[in-house]
């Protein structure tokens, strides 16, 4: 199989799901997070640490500048790491204990599981485009609810060409009538009827699918967690153009110090290579731990953390108007552009009186990676009016966002929502 672009996928590594390792500070941060949640629950207060710059004086960056400093994640590098893993698996290279024999791997598919906000659909479509694989679209709502096998019959039989189902979470509903198609698909896919392929699945949906159709021995891969240095590498080096004299310096609003030491950033600028030294990057370590190594989530937090001086903001606006969207620092050659990084991002608080209706709505949305109001009404035992009212309330609190017709858990609320469901013993993902 063609490996496509063989350039290194950078910090992206696709690993078996059981090898996913939380960033080093994960446990400590988890304890801190739970303590903070507990304190908020009982006191309603949130202790603020002393900060170098009063964060209230700093302003959020304008969207254009934000898009320049933190552009959307380019998932093609993740697709390259997936390609590497896929070729190793199909060639019988890295089979783990408990997995099937390498021979059967040639004909049976495996799972690519990603956490929320890591766009597995894009990764798999990138991979499919590189490898001329067939991309299968999910069935429609009616087809799922009627268990319409026409969708299954329409999928072409295996001819050696790999295939991709980018989003398994869109192929079922947590409804007594919404699982037949999933079971039928899994049975035929795992029997090797369609040849080698990759099934993309959200981590929450994967946890549920495993209960419906036990997947013992089926390889499941995921993106390895990003730790602090990897995030620093991605967010800072990614914005440092080798040879460029105008560099963005990210300063901590807590200490006033650069997040990445200047010499390291200079090394980035001159060589374009990440530093090999073990560095103490507390802000990035904290970010990685808070996001449990999820790069997609970290991207949202990082954008929210960036601030500018009020006067810089005005300057930014003027520059954006003058340059058609690109920003330039006018301080002279070799100067740097300072961006402040807030110590913490204000996350939407969970409702103190959140009842089971709230839990049901949030859980259903996470299991299906977004649902419309109509589908929520179909899946949950509450009346439509109550569900609609809950959705609006959760949206007002910043816990949900609306993407067209589909409701999603807001990225900044994800950790809070996950913890809310975990302590109430709802099924959560494996991460």
């Amino acid at each position: 199989m063609d490996e496509g672009n063989s350039s290194a996928p950078g910090p992206w590594h696709t690993v078996p799901i059981e090898e996913y390792t939380l960033p080093p500070d994960g446990r400590t941060n988890l304890v801190k997070k739970r303590w903070k949640a507990l304190r908020q629950r009982f006191s309603g207060e949130d202790g603020e640490a002393e900060v170098f710059r009063a964060e209230a004086d700093l302003r959020e960056l304008p969207n254009v500048r934000l898009a320049h400093i933190v552009p959307p994640i380019d998932w093609s590098s993740a697709a390259r790491s997936l390609a590497q893993a896929f070729s190793e698996v199909t060639l019988g290279g890295v089979l783990k204990p408990g997995a099937r024999s390498s021979k059967s791997e040639d004909t049976t598919p495996w799972f690519f599981v990603s956490q929320p906000y890591c766009d597995h659909g894009s990764i798999l479509e990138n991979w499919a485009a590189e490898h001329h694989a067939r991309v299968w679209q999910p069935p429609g709502t009616e087809q799922i609810l009627n268990g319409d096998s026409a969708w299954l019959e329409a999928l072409p039989k295996g001819n050696g060409q790999p295939w991709v189902l980018p989003a398994l979470e869109l192929c079922f509903f947590r409804h007594a009538n919404g699982l037949d198609l999933l079971r039928g698909f899994m049975e035929r896919a795992l029997s090797g009827e369609w040849g080698p392929g990759i099934i993309g699945c959200d981590s929450w949906a994967f946890a549920f699918v495993q209960r419906i159709f036990p997947l013992t021995g089926v390889p499941a891969m995921t993106l390895q967690a990003f730790d602090g240095p990897m995030l620093a590498d991605y967010f800072v080096r990614g914005r440092t153009t080798p040879g460029s004299r105008n560099q963005i310096r990210f300063l901590s609003a807590r200490s006033g110090e650069p997040l990445v030491p200047d010499e390291t950033q200079d090394a980035y600028a001159s060589t374009g290579a990440p530093s090999d030294d073990e560095q103490d990057l507390p802000e990035f370590r904290q970010l990685a731990a808070h996001c449990q190594g999820n790069p997609g989530l970290a991207w949202h937090y990082w954008r929210k953390q960036l601030r500018s001086e009020p006067e810089t903001e005005q300057q930014d606006r003027a520059e954006v108007r003058g340059t058609g969207g690109t920003t330039q620092n006018t301080d002279g050659p070799g100067s740097s552009d300072n961006v402040w990084v807030a110590q913490d991002v204000e996350t939407p608080p969970m409702l103190a009186e959140a009842d089971e209706d709230v839990a049901f709505v949030l859980h259903a949305i996470l299991l299906h990676r977004g649902l419309t109001t109509n589908l929520l009404t179909l899946l949950l035992p509450s009346p439509r009016a109550r569900i609609a009212s809950q959705l609006l309330r959760l949206q007002a609190l910043g816990l949900l966002t609306r993407d067209g017709e589909r409701w999603q858990v807001a990225p900044l609320a994800y950790s809070t929502v996950r913890e809310f469901l975990r302590v109430r013993r709802y099924l959560t993902d494996a991460f």
Partner: protein, 270 residues
């Protein structure tokens, strides 16, 4: 007259300082008991799962320990704790209780036993003497339940000596619920079973940490299905069974299993 003097000799003379000490001990114990009885349930009801049940269960035990501590501190102030004095006092108290307050004392002793053996704790779902409900409070003499009909029932601990106590979750957040279905025998059992399993797996109340089991029994009048599953919180049990029953009946009809009775909803919970 002589015996009256001897009885008086059992007790220490209570001067003002001793009285103050006694009052402080009693007052302190009462305050701590009230605080523990209010604060712990308040805290527990803001938590979930095992921690909630652990905190609720600790309430009667903490109260008993506080009462014992107060007694230990009080007795030496009131009487000289020699063997002779203790035997005399306990004998007199025992005699009074034996004749006049037998059941009351028996309930108090059963209350002490219940604090250690824990046949029921606050937060448990129990059936005592035909009453099924959630234990709201375990007092010194009685246990208070709130039933599904929102009745507040007080049962003396005395029942412990003679009645069976059925505890559905036994201090944990794990409580099995059963939904029963009665269908005509002519149907595809494996389809019906799969349909019921799907019903349980798709209920938003389901706790995935516990198994889902479908029990099938042939009766002379037809087939009985019992769907056994666990909700995430014991307090959801009736809503969970309702959800299973309503959707289970629909799923069985889709699977070709006709209900035997019109509206064959048999709600029961163990």
């Amino acid at each position: 007259m002589n015996s009256s003097t001897e009885l008086t000799d059992l007790f220490n003379s209570l001067d003002q300082a001793a009285m103050l000490k006694l009052a402080m001990i009693v007052f302190g114990a009462l305050v701590l008991i009230i605080i523990s009885q209010r604060a712990l349930p308040w805290l527990a009801n803001r938590l979930h799962g095992s921690l909630r049940h652990f905190l609720l269960a600790s309430v009667p035990l903490i109260r008993l320990l506080l009462v014992l501590a107060a007694l230990i501190l009080t007795v030496p102030i009131v009487i000289e704790p020699s063997l002779r004095n203790m035997v005399t006092i306990l004998g007199a108290v025992g005699l009074a209780i034996g004749f006049a307050l037998k059941d009351y004392a028996s309930s108090l002793i059963a209350g002490v036993v219940s604090a250690f053996e824990q046949p029921y704790r606050p937060g448990d779902w129990v059936e005592i003497d035909g009453h099924y409900g959630e234990v709201m409070n375990v007092g010194m003499r009685t246990v208070a339940l709130v039933t599904v009909d929102d009745d507040y029932i007080t049962v003396p601990h005395l029942k412990l000596w003679s009645s069976a106590v059925r505890n559905a979750n036994n201090g944990t957040p794990t409580l099995q619920c059963n939904a029963s279905f009665y269908v005509h025998p002519e149907h595809d059992m494996s389809r019906a079973r799969e349909a019921l399993e799907s019903v349980a797996m798709t209920s938003p109340y389901l706790c995935f940490d516990e198994p889902v089991v479908v029990v099938i029994r042939e009766e002379i009048w037809g087939t009985k299905y019992t769907l056994r599953a666990y909700p995430v919180d014991p307090r959801q049990q009736f809503r969970f069974v309702t959800d299973l029953t309503a959707r289970g009946r629909e799923a069985l009809t889709r699977a070709g299993a006709r209900p035997l009775l019109p509206g064959s909803l048999a709600l029961e919970s163990i």
